[in-house]
Structure formats: C-alpha cells, structure tokens
Amino acid sequence: MPRPIRTLAAAAAALLLATACNSASTGGTSDEPGSPGGSARGVTADTIKVGGIVSMTTASGYSKKDTDLGAKARYDRANAEGGVNGRRIDYLGAEDDGQDPARNLAAARKLVQQDKVFAVSPMSSVTFAGADFLDRQKVPTVGWGTLPSFCGPKHLYGFNGCLVPTPGGTLNQTWPEGLATVLGGARGKSVALIAGDNDAGKFGIRTFTQGFKAAGFQLAYAKAAVPATSLPSDWSAYTKEILRSGPGGRAPDAVVSVMQTPYNIGLFTALKRSGYKGVISDPTDYDPGLLAKDATRQALDGVHVLLQFQPFESESPAMARFKADIKKAAGGKDVPLNMHMMTGYMSADLFLSIAAKAGKDLTVESFQQAAAGFSDTGTLVGDRAEPKGQKESFGCGALVRLKNGRYEVAVPFKCYPPIPFG
C-alpha cells in the first residue's frame, strides 16, 4: 500500500474516533428543537414563522403551485384579523420541490435548519421524502393527505384527513354513496372501475371494489389495466371491454375512473363516442381551469366529479370568504379557482385553528396537545377532528357534474360514516 494512502487511512481513523467521541458525548442530537423554557423554534413574542413545500415546476407538466396562493390568502386573512393569539404569521412562501424526492427532503431541511420555521403548512406534492425528517424534528406539518406519510406520524396532518386507507383502518364512502344518490340507489346497479397498471392503481381498485360493494353495487369490471406511464392514443381496447362487462353483456350503469386528467379525457371521449349513456365519474377533474378548453369541456361534459371539500359553487359564507381571500391575495384579480388553492387555504386553516387552540404559550408540545383533542364542524372540508384525521379521511365530500360548460352540484357536500377496510 502506498505510504500516502496509509497516512490517509490513519487520519481517517483518527477522525472517525473523534467523531465517535463527539457524537457519543452529544448523544447524536445536534439540533434538538423546542428547547425547554417555552421559546419554540420560529416563534417570537409577536410572530410565528411558517413555511411551505409545494411541487411547482415539474417535467410532467403537472403543478400544484396555486397551493401557495391559497395558503397566503388564508394567512393574510389571519394577520388582518390580528394573528393567532396576538402573533402575526410570518409565511415564507412555499419551497418548490419539483416532484423530486431529494429536493423535497432538502426543502424540509432548509425550512427547519436554515429558516427555522415553527411549522410547515402547506405541504403538497406527489412525494414526501421530508416526512420522516419533519416528524423527527417535531415540526407540525399540514398538507394534502394523499400520501401515507400523513397517516400516522405524530406531527403530520392532512388538511382533510389521511386519504390513504390502511388495512385495519377505515374506508371513506363518499364516492359510492354519492354515486348511489345519483343513480337512485345502488341496488341492482353495476359499476366498472378502471385504473392505471401499477401498484397504486391496483391499490385503488382494491379499495374502491370494497367500497362500492359495501354500498350495494355490482362490480362489472375492476381492472388496473391502462399503461401507467405512456398515455394510450387509442382507448377502444378498454372501452370495448368495459361496454360489454355489465350484466348480460350490456354496458354497466356507471364507469368510475381512478386516473389522472389526461387519461380521463381520452377514456371519457372514447366512451361517449361509443355511445355510452351511463354515469361517468372520476375524482380528479374538478378544475374550473379545464373549462377554458373546448376539448376538455366536451370530454368532461356530464361527468360526475368527486371532491372532498365544499364545491366552489356552494353559497356558504365560508366559501364566499374563501373566494374573497383568494381574490385579495391574487392582487384583486379574479383568478380561476382550483383545488390546489383549497389545499393551501385549508392546510393553513387547520394549522391556524390548532395553533389558536394551543393558546398564548405556543410550543410544539402545546400545539400537539391542542391537536390531540381538536375538533370543529362545518368547515370547507366538513367536520374536522384530530387525531382521527391522522388515521382516516374526514369522510366528507360532494359530487359535481359538468353541464353545458359549468359545474353544478349533483350531490351536495356531506359527511358519510366510514366502513372498516380490510
């Protein structure tokens, strides 16, 4: 072995030893948050520092950037109302994670270690690599609970609950019950379920098969069959099978898609061209922005879309306030509303509500304590309760139907009792 390498090895060994001593003496906790004495990270006498993580730029063309605007609207309003227990919210804006797990974690680290935020709200992305870090650093985090990280970890909250059912947990029945209302009862009605050909699609098929069966539907077709990464240019292979799947080789009464917008546009267009007259439903296409394009407007016409918050068409005072806040945050412009704004707005709202309950002495501990027994009713996402929301969805939703270029409420916003999932 050349001498310098030996020297190098020796130096490295010495360093390692020093590290060992050092980390042993500090117990491996170099930046423990929430030191005793009441002054928490990011909380001063009159401000609370809050950050956000949102997928804004992506290679897939899918962006959640309006989440940031929604959050800002809610925090602005809170500050205008005098803040939380006298403390103003210092919202730093959202970090862009670009749908990249590494950047998601880096964003979480930056917010905590560099910006020293008290909480992260909103966090909305397709990946949440920062979840473990935020939970370990005891950073209250509120976001869109479509990822399993929002189901379980103590400091992480989904703004409308945890949306990923776990075996042994419960299943949200909004969709089957809503569609039953549309069809005038589930008895004797058949449903076709279709999803992408990957693990997530399989899981979706599994959960909704159980849900729809429990609601009394017949499952005519339930397949995770569509290539998940390359959009089919031709849907006839799927539509043909679906349209023959109902009882007696007829078309099923409802076709339910558990896929993303571009897929739904293709599938629904093909279904309609084949003359399908039944109910079509999906959970993703409630976006008034989609109405701006003739092609999407036509493809989605008549489709029943599931949403898990109050529809923008509702006339409740809370919705009026939401719209006013968004308009103000957008600089007085009438921006088209979308569900990402709602995500941001209601993530901020859940954080503010719990923080308000935590009282004047705001620390992670007092926040967690407040959350442990938190509940309220009648919000834009229905009746909220923690820690129930860390295990299951709040279970509220509505169906809207696109008709003549406008969404109209088909089944009003309501909370349904969940069923056990196994």
Binding site: I5, N22, S23, A24, S230, L231, D234, K293
Partner: protein, 908 residues
C-alpha cells in the same frame, strides 16, 4: 374482426408518431453517429411553442405549425449541430450520450424559462402547467366519424395519418430522387469516402440534423392534443420509438418508419388482447420497453466487439510518473478538511447537504467501474440503488441490523447487476445503453411494483445505523463516516484498477478477441464489471436511503439514473475521486444557485444541461480539464508532448509501425525544373498518429500524365502517405502542393475539390448504394453515366443492384469508371489490385494506364510490384517512413525490388 381492424387502425396513430420520431433518430444518428436522447425534448419544445403561439398569442394554427416544423425546429437542429453535435461526433461515445442527456433536461427547462421571461415582460403567454386537452392543428374538440361499425376515427387522428403519410412520401422523394438525398445516403453509407469525393459531410450532417429536428417538431405539434405539455411523456414516447429505430438498425429510414407504425399497432393489440398478463402488475405499462429490450437483443449486429467502446480513447494521464504524494496529496487534504469542517464551520443545513452529496458520491463511484473502467454505459444504476435499498429496508423491518441488511441489499443489487449484464455480453455502445435503460424501466414498472417488495407508497424505513458509540443519526457523524467510506472506496477502486483484474478489464475493453486469446474470460470479466458496479451502487444506495431514513420505490427512477450518469460524466468518470466531487457538486450547487444567483427554478437546470457543451471540449470532465490542459501546455513548452499514453489500451494500427528515427531522405522525380508545376508535390512531409510519427520527411512529385509507383514493405508508411496526399491526415511538417498551389491547410473536402482523388485501400465504393447511384454521385449528368454504361456493359446490366453485392473486380471497375469519364488531376490509388484475380488486375492496370494517358497524375501504392511496374514511369521505395530509393523504372532491378519487400533497407 371489427375489433381487430379498429385496433390496427387506431394503433397506427401512435405508430405514426413513433415513426416520425424514429425516422428523426435514424437521420441524426446516421449524420453524426450519436443517439439523440434529447429528440423527445425537441418535440416537446415545439409542442410548447405551438401552444403558446396558437393559444397564447392567438396565431392561426396551420401557419404556426408550418413555421415551427419548417423553420424553427430545423433552425434549432442546425444550431445544436454547429454548437455541439459536430464536435461530439469526434469524442467518445459516453460523452455523446451524456451531452444529449443534458439537453434532454435543458431544452424543456429553457422553453419554460422563456415562457417565464415572456410572462414577466407582459406578453400574452398562457401558463404551461396543468394544461390538458390542448388544441392541435385541427378543430378542437376533434370531430369524430364512425366509418365502420366499431371503428372510429377523429380529426386529430386523421391529420396525424395524413401528415405522416405526406412526410413519408416527401422523405422518400427526397432520399431516392434528389441529389441531396443521394449524398445523404452516401454519407450514411461511408462518411469518409463521401469527403474523399469532395462532398462536405459536415454540411450533410447539418442538413440531417435540420431534417431530424423538423420531424421531431412535427411529431411534437401533432402529439399536442394527445400528450399535452409533459416533457416527461415526450421523452418516454421517444424511448419507445427508439425501438423502431433499432428495428431500422439506426441506418434504414424506411425500416424505422415501418417499425414505428408496426410498434403502434402491436402495442394496441397487446392492450386489446393481453388479458393473460393481468396478474402481473405493470406488464401492460412495460410492453414498449419489453419490445425495445427484445428488439435490441435480437437485432443487435455484432459489428463491433460487444460491450466495449474502443471509440473512447483513454486520456493522457498527466500525472504519470509523478509520486503518490503529488497524485493524492491534494485529495487527502481536501478529504481531511471536509471531515474537519463538519465539526467546525458547517451549519446543520450544510452538514446535511454535504452528507447527502457524499452518499450520492458513493453511488456515482459505481459509474467509475462500469463506464470509466469497463467502457460500458449503464443507465440502470438507479435500479440497483432502489433494489438494494428496498431489500435492505424490507429486512430491517424484520428486525435485521443495519450492517447485515446493507450487506444483503448490496448482494441483491449485485445479482441484479449480473442480470443486467447479460445483454452486455451481446451488445455494445448505445445499444447496450438503451438495453440497460429498457431494463431500468422494466424494473420500475414491473419489479418495483411488487407489493411485498415496495410496501406501497410508504416504502421502508431505513434508520441511520448506530455502530457502537457512533450514532450516525447526527448528520455530522454521518458526514465524517461517509468521508472515510468514500476514501476507502476510492482507494479500493484505484487498487482494483491497477490490479490483475483491472488490467483484464482494460484488455477486454479494448480488444476482446486478443484478451480472450491471452486467457482472459471476456464473459466473466464483463459480468464481474457489472456485478461489482451494481453492488457498489447498491451499497451507496442503502447509505443514501439511510440519509433519507426511508426508501420508496419511486425515489430513484430510471430517469434519475440518466441524470446521475450526466452528473458523473460531466465531472469525469475515469477516477473514483471525481465521482465524489460530482456528488458533492450536484448536492451543493443548486442551493448555492438558489441562494446567491437566481430564484428561477429553470436556470440551474439549463446550466446543468449545458455541461454537455463543455464535454464537447473536455470529454474527460471538468475535474480533469484544468490540470490536463495545464499539463498539455507544459508539455508543449518543454517540447515533450505525448510522453505518456496508457499503452494498455492503445489500439495498434496496421500502418503505424514502431517509430524510428528518420533517416532515408530521397529526391524522387524532381530533377526537371522547367515544364508546368507537378500535379502533386510533397516536400519534407512528416506525419503520424497521435504522438507516433510514421513518415519522416518524404519528398515526392508526380506530374500530369505520369505514374509514380510507391513500393515498400508492410508498415513502411505507404498508406499514411496516401492519407496525407488525400488530405485525410494533416502533416506535422512539410508542404503539400497541388498543381503548384499550396494545399497544406486543406481538409479532405477541399483537397478533393482541387482534383485530388483517393481510391482507398479496399474498394472506394458505397456498398449500400446501387451502381447507378454510385455513378450519379460523381457523374451528375446522365450522358456521362450512359457513356460509362456503354463502355462497361456488365455495370449497365445491373445498374439497380447494390454495389456491395458486386464482385471485387466489378467493384474496382465501378470505382474507376467515373474517373475515366471525368479524369481528375491526381489519382492516389492505395493497393488498387488488392484481393483481385490476375485477369482483373490486368484490366485494372489497363484502366489506370488509360487514365494516365488522359493526363491524370497517378500515385500508385502497390504490393504486386511486377505487374505495376509495367505502367510505372517512376518508382520510389518507401522504407521505415522514408524514401530509400527512387528513380525511373528502367533503373529498377530485381535486387532492389527484393530488398524493398524484405525491408532490409536499401540505404544509400
């Protein structure tokens, strides 16, 4: 039956898009020999531009589409060719692959950045995110018809078909019935011969890139209603269409086109009928990649030794002969400083980032093994990382300790590596890269969809290890541990490289047959390279995952692997320590940029992608660029250039003998000073390859209507001299004059245009073109061709036959025939009689004599001395790179002849 017809017809829609993209791939590949990973990005860029101009600025659809497809996209192709691809064609394959991967991310980012800038400037642009159901060229929403029961088509599909059919017809006319098409095909067939015929291959390459980009642009505009504005989808679409390019063997446009159409149909049929595979999650998703992989393995030609990239010559080791202190001192100091920094200066945030960079560095070092040492491009490294981490996580969830779980994970990755290596036994270069990419996608879409392995979206927790008193839960401790680990791995890899096994790898890489002959098992060596590299990637992956404290199946995808390759090659893939630098730079720079330079998310991506541009100049990466440039400058000033080229990997050229000191220097046929200037004159010419001089100061002159025969033993430098005369090789000293004018600075094309023709060793014909086309390249006028046919009825009878299928003699006739019709000023013929039957040789020499009589100056290099002397006016003996004797034919005697061949050196 209605079903089947419907599936076939609508399958032709995506098939048409595949065909367009595949055709573009083949065109650009044949123009500059590189597989353009960024082809889909070009399509995306045009889709984005179309959307913004049409929907944002309100421009009319059809003119906008035409503008983009006919002007903007070709312009982009031209620019990229001039800036990048032309230079890249001359560097190694790895750098080529990486540069286009860089573009793959940079081009979409650049497009979005422009949109961002325009928006800020107040232009009426539309947001590019969350856009679905975009209008295409036709009506939106599309009008649909149902001509047959169960078979529906819509206007977008119809437009795609029509446009594709039109392009197919247009391409066919262009390639088959225009002069430009003929030249393009000639350049594809034999680039250097094209240049020898005075046709600039660079210009043809520009045109091919413009065509290729235009086709990508067309595919982009047509696909807008289907794919929307997802750069990711366009790139995936491209990878699928690569299958069609493979079917066309990257050479045949019609085959690639047909392959694309067939692929679309096949995919649709599988979607319609593959109910057998319903239980395999991801099977339908993976169909295109299964076809890609299968196509590569089945269709791969064993043209070049599989699994190697001899086109990647090793760089000059600028530290050769320096002591280990000089070699390692700086690195050791940097490592020690970094380790100390963790406990002194860095903030918790930066400690974390540095630790992440170091963990990534470990993964990146796996590229040093497979690509740097083994010269095989693997795009599946992310698969090994995911595989190892998932296995380790699974085991740890069952209570296994970290070290044991990491060991098993590493072993699992190594096993995966061995599986991925199987195609490497058959494939090489870009085929191998594509095959590993296909396998990476297959793993993502099928293997990592297996429920018990991936554990849903939750993945597995991988807690940081606690080794005795050492708790790596602290970022600083983890950082120092990673510094130490990196040092150990760097040392191990360096040792490995110099070991017996490392030498075996180098041997297999540069000359597999020779390696096999000397008892090195090629199969075992390649398997081992992949296995070791995959194991290392897996090991690094487990540590990286433990930095994140969790692994999910989507953390490191096939696309991540692409980016990693770009990251590490940009830094330098030859030395493991460069990989560590690459990891650190990749982790740190984005944050520095965000903090100090720009808020824009797009600019760093653009800059990262443009690192490929730098590769065109420094193919060995930025880590080595500065010192090797400095070393080169130092070497130039001291005049000892080329002191150290790694001899193990140098490919020995047949005509490059061991350099010997210059001795022989003769004056050949240069006595008469009156009369017109000689047609070709070389004075004091020295030339060679790399650092090795072959020809040492040769003087030669040959006049119009004269034949100079150059004789000499193998390795005397005859072919080198021919190359100098034809402008293929620039002499390091001396002058070359053509018809009295200085031509020393010519390239091949300029030299050819001056009237110097080289009939290269072997046959100077385009084997893939027909006889008629071979003639038409040099004789554009049909009267000239008719005259040739009149003279050679054998050619006339078979004018549509591919020249490659002619006999050797007929090929030589075909090469000489156009010259007889239009005699050049100078003909340099390298072994024109090689491998020909005696009767044919007589015919060839008769033709050469005829050429002389029509005033051409001939420089003939021959082995068959006895026959050639019949037409020689002057004879020169070349020996060991110098003229040993020259004089009129009458003075040649048998002894001289024998000595010339025995190489005993007729030294005066």
């Amino acid at each position: 039956m209605g079903d089947l017809l419907g599936f076939v017809l609508s399958g032709l829609v995506s098939g048409a898009l595949y065909a367009l993209l595949a055709t573009g791939l083949v065109l650009s590949y044949s123009a500059s020999g590189l597989f353009n990973f960024a082809h889909g990005a070009t399509a995306y860029l045009c889709a984005l531009a179309f959307y913004e101009l049409h929907s944002g600025f309100g421009w009319p659809a059809v003119p906008t589409a035409l503008l983009l497809v006919c002007v903007v996209a070709p312009g982009l192709g031209w620019g990229l060719d001039r800036l990048m691809f032309r230079k890249l064609a001359r560097v190694g394959e790895t750098a080529q692959i990486v540069a286009t991967i860089g573009l793959l991310v940079a081009l979409p980012a650049a497009g979005l950045w422009v949109v961002e800038l325009l928006e800020r400037a107040g232009a009426p642009v539309q947001p590019a995110e969350n856009q679905f159901g975009l209008p295409g060229v036709g009506p939106s929403p599309a009008v649909s018809w149902q001509p047959l029961d169960g078979v529906g088509i819509d206007s977008d599909q119809l437009i795609t078909w029509l446009a594709t059919a039109l392009v197919a017809a247009g391409l066919w006319v262009l390639m088959r019935h225009t002069r430009l098409g003929l030249r393009l095909r000639a350049a594809v067939d034999n680039r250097s011969l094209t240049e020898l015929r005075g046709i600039s291959a660079d210009r043809l390459s520009s045109i091919a890139w413009m065509l290729s980009s235009g086709l990508a642009g067309l595919a982009g505009v047509l696909a807008t209603p289907l794919l929307g504005l997802s750069a990711h989808d366009y790139t995936l679409f491209l990878f699928v269409s690569a299958t069609a390019a493979v079917l066309g063997r990257f050479l045949s446009v019609p085959l690639a086109f047909a392959g694309g159409l067939g692929l679309g149909v096949l995919q649709n049929l599988v979607a319609g009928y593959a109910s057998f595979a319903e239980d395999i999650t991801g099977f339908r998703t993976a169909v295109p990649f299964l076809i890609l992989f299968g196509g590569l393995v089945v269709l791969a030609q064993r043209r070049r030794a599989a699994g190697t990239a001899a086109a990647d010559p090793p760089p000059v080791d600028y530290l050769a002969g320096k002591g280990p202190g000089r070699r390692w001192g700086a690195w050791a100091a940097a490592g020690a400083l970094l380790a100390t920094a963790f406990y002194t200066v860095t903030t918790p945030f930066w400690s974390g980032i540095l630790a992440q960079g170091l963990a990534l560095g470990l993964v990146l070092m796996s590229f040093t093994v497979v690509t740097g040492l083994g010269a095989m491009v693997s795009l599946a490294q992310a698969t090994f990382v995911t595989g190892a981490a998932l296995v380790a996580g699974l085991l740890m969830s069952h209570g296994w300790p970290f070290v044991a779980a990491a060991a098993v994970g590493t072993a699992a990755a190594a096993l995966l590596g061995a599986v991925v290596a199987l195609p490497a036994l058959r494939l090489g270069g870009r085929s191998l890269a594509l095959a590993t990419l296909a396998l990476a996608f297959l793993a993502d879409q099928v293997l990592f969809q297996v429920g018990w392995l991936r554990n849903g979206d939750t993945g597995w927790e991988i807690p940081r290890p606690i080794l005795g008193p050492l708790d790596l839960g602290d970022d600083r401790a983890l950082g120092v541990a990673l510094v130490v680990l990196s040092a150990v791995v760097v040392w191990l890899l360096t040792w490995l490289r110099g070991s017996r096994w490392g030498r075996a790898v180098l041997a297999v890489r540069s000359a597999p047959e020779a390696a096999a002959a000397s008892g090195v098992s090629v199969v075992r060596t390649k398997l081992l390279v992949f296995t070791v590299s995959a194991g290392l990637a897996g090991f690094g992956g487990v540590l990286y995952a433990s930095y994140n404290t969790r692994i999910t199946a989507t953390d490191f995808t096939a696309m991540t692997g692409l980016v990693w390759l770009a990251v590490v090659v940009a830094a330098g893939v030859r030395r493991p320590q460069f990989a560590v630098v690459a990891g650190l730079v990749f982790a740190v720079v984005p944050h520095l940029m965000a903090t100090y330079v720009t808020e824009s998310a797009h600019l760093p991506v653009i800059l990262f992608g443009l690192a490929g541009l730098a590769l065109a100049n420094d193919p060995d990466g930025y880590c080595a660029a500065l010192p090797s440039r400095r070393a080169a400058r130092a070497a130039r000033t001291t005049g000892t250039a080329g002191t150290a080229t790694a001899p193990t990997t140098q490919v020995v050229r047949e005509d490059a003998p061991v350099p010997v000191p210059a001795q022989g220097r003769a004056q050949a046929a240069g006595s008469e000073a009156h009369a017109p200037p000689p047609a070709l004159a070389l004075h004091g010419v020295r030339a060679g390859y790399g650092g090795a001089a072959v020809v040492h100061g040769v003087d030669l002159e040959v006049r119009g209507g004269e034949v100079l025969v150059l004789l000499g033993p193998n390795g005397a430098g005859k072919s080198t001299l021919c190359r100098v005369a034809a402008g293929l090789l620039r002499p390091s000293a001396g002058t070359v004059r053509v018809l009295g004018r200085d031509a020393g600075r010519d390239d091949t094309v300029r030299r050819a245009r001056r009237g110097v023709r080289l009939a290269p060793e072997g046959r100077g014909i385009f084997a893939g073109l027909s006889i008629e086309e071979n003639l038409a390249l040099q004789l554009p006028a049909s009267e000239d061709r008719d005259a040739v046919y009149a003279r050679f009825p054998a050619l006339a009878a078979r004018r549509t036959v591919a020249a490659g299928s002619l006999s050797g003699g007929e090929q030589q006739l075909l090469a000489l025939a156009p010259l007889l019709q239009r005699p050049p000023a100078v003909l340099v013929a390298d072994e024109p009689s090689l491998g020909l039957a005696p009767r044919v040789v007589d015919e060839v020499f008769r033709l050469l004599a005829e050429l002389r009589d029509s005033g051409t100056a001939l420089l003939l290099v021959e082995e068959k001395a006895a026959e050639v002397l019949g037409i020689a006016d002057t004879v020169a003996y070349l020996s060991q790179g110098g003229i040993a004797w020259s004089g009129p034919r009458s003075e040649v005697d048998r002894d001289r002849l024998a000595e010339a061949y025995l190489g005993t050196g007729v030294r005066r």
